[in-house]
Each structure stands twice: as C-alpha cells, then as structure tokens.
C-alpha cells in the first residue's frame, strides 16, 4: 500500500510538478472566482452536469486521437449552452442537469472502454491526474484562465447586478439573458480546465466548495471572491504538494482540504457555536 504522505524525495520531485503547480494555481484563481457566481446564480448542480459532458467530450476526442482538452471544451460548452437555453428556471434546470449527467457519463465510459491506451490514463478524466500535466495542457489552461479573468473583469458589474438583483437589473437596461449565456460559456471553459486536473466527478470541490465557505463568512463584494480564491488556492496547491510524496492522485487531497475549509466556516458561523456573525449584526 502506498503511503499517504511521504516527503523523503521532495527536492527531487518538486521540479517535476512545476507544470501542475502553475496549472493548479491558475485553476484555483478562476475556479474560486467563478464559483461565487455559480452559487449566487444557483448553478451548483448545473456545474456537475457540465463537467460530465465535458468528460464525455474529452473521452470521445481521446478515442479518436484528438486533443483531449479541446474535446473537454467542446463537451462542456455544449452542455453549458443547452442548460443556459433550456434551463432558465431553477426547477427545470435541475431535472435537465439530472437527465444530461448520466447520459454524458455513459457516453464517456463507452468511449474510454473502446480506447486501447493505458488504463491509468483513462480514469484520470473522471477522478483526476497523478501529478502530470504536460506542456500543451498548461498552454490551454493559461489561455482559458486569462480569457475568463478578462471577461469577468469586463462584465463584473452587470454580472453581479444580473445575478443578485435580476428584475431591477432588467429595468436598468442590463441584458440579463445575454449575461446568463455569456456566464454559461465562461463556466463551460473553466469546467473543461478543471476536469483536466481534478477530474469530472470532483469539479464541484473547486467550483463550489471554496465559494460556499467564503459566502458563509462574509457578504462583502471584495472579501467573498478573495476568500474563495484563497481557499481554492490552498486546496489545489496544497493538494498537489501533499499528493507528491505518496504518488497518489491529487483529487482526494484537494477535496479534503476544501471540505475542511467549508466545515470550519460552518462551525464559525453556526448559531450555536459560532463566533462570527455575517455582516456584523445578529
């Protein structure tokens, strides 16, 4: 049985995971940021649906010898557009996601079963990689992260307005439908990137858990995204560094760290044991 923590060859191993660390940090930055909007727009479950279709796209592209990241993007954008178009209401959206999710997973598993390559690589798409991110993948991740960050910065105010105060935003002339679409496409891109590192099944731990913890601790427009990014960053970079020694996938480390943050945030703000009251009153 491999050990959970082993730091004996650390100085030798770190240079090997530089790519993963860069990719992980970037992903934490965009994932933590977009996660805040995922929650305020009530898209937590939709993220899961998008990630399963992203997995299906990646698996199909892998089978046909095409670029896996590109396949991942094609799958997640398709899902994002379908959910954005047909699932305007939360209730409709939830059933739609629940219908899409197993379908995507099934197609993906079919494609993987037909793929003649190594089995270890196959399930990386579902449950995360063993600390190997190659150069083309890092290029993709940098391109995705930078585009998403620029887009969010450009649309920040109308996005916040549309997400938190939709009918008033419409009256002020914000094109909330257009913003909704744009957001789904950005979300699709981030999910596709996250699937490469942490795996389709565990994307929520990066796109939802850090933001959920941050939203328990604050309602500040500044501190919520900052804390969410911070928690995502510690989870991913910390997860990669801890996973290094044991030669295990990074996912369980990442998911556990982000879960612990959420747990602490809940305890700190709980009515019975809490020491923090959100917003300063009550």
């Amino acid at each position: 049985m491999p050990t959970l923590f082993d730091f004996s060859d650390y100085d030798r191993l770190i240079p090997l995971v530089t790519n993963s660390l860069i990719a992980g940090a970037l992903l934490a930055l965009v994932g933590g940021l977009i996660g805040v909007f995922v929650i305020t727009r009530q898209l937590a479950f939709a993220v899961h649906g998008v990630s399963e279709l992203s997995f299906a796209g990646a698996a199909i592209f892998l089978l046909f010898g095409l670029d896996v990241v590109l396949g991942s993007i094609v799958g997640s954008i398709t899902a994002a557009v379908i959910i954005g178009t047909l699932g305007a209401r939360v209730q409709e959206r939830n059933s739609l996601v629940a219908v899409l999710m197993p379908f995507g997973l099934g197609i993906g598993i079919l494609a993987l079963s037909l793929y003649p390559g190594r089995a270890a690589n196959k399930f990386g798409l579902l449950t995360g990689q063993i600390v190997t991110v190659d150069d083309p993948q890092v290029t993709w991740l940098i391109a995705i992260s930078v585009s998403v960050l620029i887009a969010i910065a450009l649309f920040w105010r109308p996005l916040v307005f549309a997400s938190l105060d939709s009918s008033v935003a419409v009256a002020r002339g914000v094109k909330v439908d257009l913003i909704g679409w744009l957001f789904m496409i950005l979300l699709g891109l981030v999910v596709a990137a996250a699937v490469q590192i942490i795996g389709a099944l565990l994307v929520l731990s990066l796109l939802v858990t850090p933001a959920a913890a941050a939203l328990r601790l604050s309602s500040s427009q500044f501190w919520v995204p900052v804390m969410s990014i911070g928690i995502a960053m510690i989870s991913v970079v910390g997860g990669i560094l801890l996973a290094l020694g044991g030669g295990l996938p990074i996912s369980p480390y990442v998911t556990t760290i982000s879960f612990l943050f959420y747990l602490v945030a809940r305890v700190l703000t709980s009515k019975r044991f809490g020491i923090i009251g959100v917003g300063g009153r009550k």
Binding site: V160, S167, V168, A169, A171, R172, G279, G280
Partner: protein, 257 residues
C-alpha cells in the same frame, strides 16, 4: 414626447383575464398612483413595462433613451442575497455599466447621500440579508433614486413601513420628481400617504380600469361601476376611505337565510 405609452395591452393567465385593452400614457414628471384589488395585475403591469412579462397583445412604448428604475415588492428570498447595503445601492448607480465597481470617492459620496435621504446611513455596511422588511424597503428606494431615472416603477414601496416612514418615503418620491422631473408609477393599496402629490390615479379592477385625477376616479359611482358592486368612497379631512359595502348588501336575486 410621451415618456411611456401603453396601447391596448391585453393579458390572460390561462382562463383568467387580467386586462383587456388597457391603454394609458405617462408624461415626464407625472406622479401616478396605481391602485386596485389583489389579482388585478398591478405588479404584472410594472413587469410588462420593464419587459420581463410579455403581453398577449398590445404594446409598451418607452421614449427613446429613457431610463427606468424599479422597486420590486419585498420578498423573503431577498434575505439570502450576499451583498452589503451600500453595494446594493451602488448597483442602482452604475451596476449596468461594464467593468469593476472601483471605490471612487464620487460614487461613495452619492451612495452615502442616497442612504442618508432614506435615513439608512447606519445600514451602509450591513448585509442585505440582515435587514427587516421596512429597512429593505427604504434601501430599495435609495437604490431606485440614485441613478436619477426618468421613470420610477415602485411596487408597494410603502409596505412594511409605519405611518411616519410611509409619509417620509412618499415625500422622497415627491422631492425626486421635483428635482429630476422623474415620472413615478406607484403601486399602493392606500392613496392617502401620497394623495397630495398624485396627479392621476390608475385604478385596476376585475371589470376594467379607470384613469383620471384622484377626484375623478375615487368616487362611489366610479368604483361601484368598476367592481359591479356597491362601494362607498368617503372623504374626511383630505383623506379618502373606501368602504366595500357589497360584503353586507343583499345581492339582487339572493334570498336571505
């Protein structure tokens, strides 16, 4: 040019007809009270003007380039909004513009002035989720007025407020109208808090609608005709009291038990 013109608006929800060929116009600087029983589509009318409610037929024409602001009815789900009061008000100022909400002194000053005008300065750093119904209502008024819109659509802005606050908020609408020539479409159950400011009343009833000055519309015969039942409108010291006598009257053709 007319600021807002509604022409032959008709809308049904299933078999229930809300309005049939509703037409009216709002000019710049006009203060209009929108009154009517529950289910006559007062809130729906505001939503149709904003564009989130589609009409079965008819049209809504807003003057080219005119800006709107909207005060939605208070709902309990607002309480989960993760936003500070000052940031919610700021959205009304420049939330529709692209880019980040940089903390400029000019913006901060405007937000604080708007909060001060509704006596909510002490709430600036509070979470929206922690506000009481009345506090939220006042913050909404600040949010609606900070952008100096041409037309303010207010859905029961006096609900959850005590009598003094009702009068103070009504005064604010009047002040805003004088200062910025904003038109106001104001949904209310009770015309009295705004009776001195109102230019016209739009009264929606199950059997139709009537628009005119307060004195033209708030009459026993007019309301009785709209409701198809006996309604008494009583005036007392500048206040109007509407008494629905149909609850007690012997309906024609009905036998007393």
């Amino acid at each position: 040019m007319t600021l807002l013109e509604i022409t032959d608006a008709s809308l049904s929800f299933g078999p229930r007809k809300i309005w049939d060929k509703l037409s009216f116009a709002v000019e710049r600087g006009e203060f209009i009270a929108l009154i009517g029983a529950n289910g006559t589509g007062k809130s729906t009318l505001l939503k149709a003007i904003i564009g989130v409610q589609h009409l079965d037929s008819g049209k809504v024409d807003l003057e080219e380039g005119a800006s709107l602001s909207y005060i939605p009815q208070h709902r309990t789900e607002d309480s989960s909004t993760p936003l500070k009061v000052k940031d919610l008000v700021r959205l009304g100022l420049d939330g529709h513009k692209p880019g980040l909400p940089l903390p400029t002194p000019a913006a901060k000053e405007k937000v604080m002035a708007a909060l001060k005008s509704v006596q909510a300065l002490d709430l600036a750093n509070e979470s929206v989720g922690n506000l009481s119904g009345g506090e939220m209502q006042r913050v909404r008024v600040a949010q609606a007025m900070i952008g100096s819109p041409d037309l303010i659509l207010a859905d029961e802005p006096l609900s959850n407020l005590d009598l003094n606050q009702q009068l103070a908020v009504s005064d604010l609408f009047e002040l805003q109208r004088k200062q910025t020539e904003a038109a106001v479409l104001f949904v209310t159950h009770d015309v009295n808090p705004i009776i001195d400011y109102v230019d016209k009343v739009l009264y929606l009833a199950p059997g139709g609608y009537r628009m005119g000055t307060t004195d033209e519309v708030m009459q026993s015969d007019v309301l009785s005709e709209l409701y198809g039942a006996d309604i008494d409108v009583v005036r007392n010291q500048g206040r109007i009291v509407v008494i629905g006598t149909h609850d007690h009257a012997h309906h024609p053709g009905e036998d007393w038990v």
